[in-house]
Amino acid sequence: MAAIIEPEIVERTLIDPMVPELFRIERLKRETEDTFTLDLVPQEESMKISFLPGQFNMLYVFGVGEVPISISGDPYETSRLEHTTRRVGVVTKAMGRLKPGDSIGIRGPYGSHWPVTEEDGRDFVVIAGGIGLAPLRPVLYHLMAQREKYKKVVLLYGARTPEEILYKRQLERWRGKFDLEVQVTVDRGASGWRGNVGVVTPLVARAPFNPSNTVALVCGPEIMMRFAVMELQKRGVPPERTYISMERNMKCALGYCGHCQWGPTFVCKDGPVFRLDRILPIFGKGEI
């Protein structure tokens, strides 16, 4: 398989970076009760999709509004774009009511990315909480595509209930085909659930990876990331090799609406992926 594409932000022939590119919905797949995945193709057929795992787009629903959503598809796939999102607000609820064939506006890709080019030879531990698995899926695609470059790859995934586990079939396929250790836990079990029950942090404490040679990627609700990071630090994974992904209100994703500021950082351009040592002074501090 070809080495990962090293994209710069794709140059579009737009003068105004606030004007979206038009995409068409090919498929709208219901993942769980409140989560769905959009399968999108560009209206301009010759356009190639190019992004790095961890980046996001601004998605515009006609007349309703625009929201930042992480790209959750295969970064080696250049003809389509995938976004998984929860229906949590006006825009995402309207998005969930769209049909195949409808248009959606896309601006992006924006933001920083998971480390995918510099960490050959390392163990990778990927820790996902809830919808946090969606921004991590592209990096899992990459790790599986370049599997021989890495040592142990472990996915620790915490979901709310067994019904809310995302990408179930894909995880099983990866677990089966590749050397990928997948450990799933749920906050609340259900009858018939024979797996772990509890939060994802105890999984971090006992997962099989070598802390001195590990890169840790964490994505999920902020409080989950705080506790996961504590466990990683307890095990001796250095902050220079720990990455988190932050979420903030965004209106422009270009660095000047000011909404996404987190201390001195703009989450739209200094993030959403942050290396832990660079943001330790503000990580976990309330109301910053």
Binding site: G158, R160, G189, R194, N196, V199, R206, I223, F227
Partner: protein, 154 residues
Amino acid sequence: MILSLESIIKAHPFFADMPEKHLEFITSCAKNVAFPERFTIFHEGDPANEFYFIREGLVSVELLVPSRGATTVQTVAEGEILGWSWVSPPYRWHFTARTQQRTRALVFDAKCLRTKCEEDHDLGYEVLSRFVSVISARLDATRLQLLDIYGRHN
């Protein structure tokens, strides 16, 4: 290679830095044990005279909720400690423990350990301070679960 009880206990972080003589005593209270899957190790309300160190497998900690049946609140897996109701009166289990898979464990005679801790407070401190860490970690995890962070909050 069959590992001796001593080496298993010494290797586990839970017992790290414990003075030799206390380790010896604890080892003397320990036995290897194996359970098939779907086996109830202890029932809520039973006398709590043991604790377990899970070597392999998965154990669910359950509560019987009248309308819901046996509900798993947490699972305890390989490398973790199961059970601290033996520490304080009335020395009865607060929950039911049931294996989800075939499980191998070390079982510790807590009644014997309790008696010895009463006599030797040094040993008592060593043991209880470690259990406090276990309980505190479980409490943290439980609180996180309680927050329902993946749920919808409006």
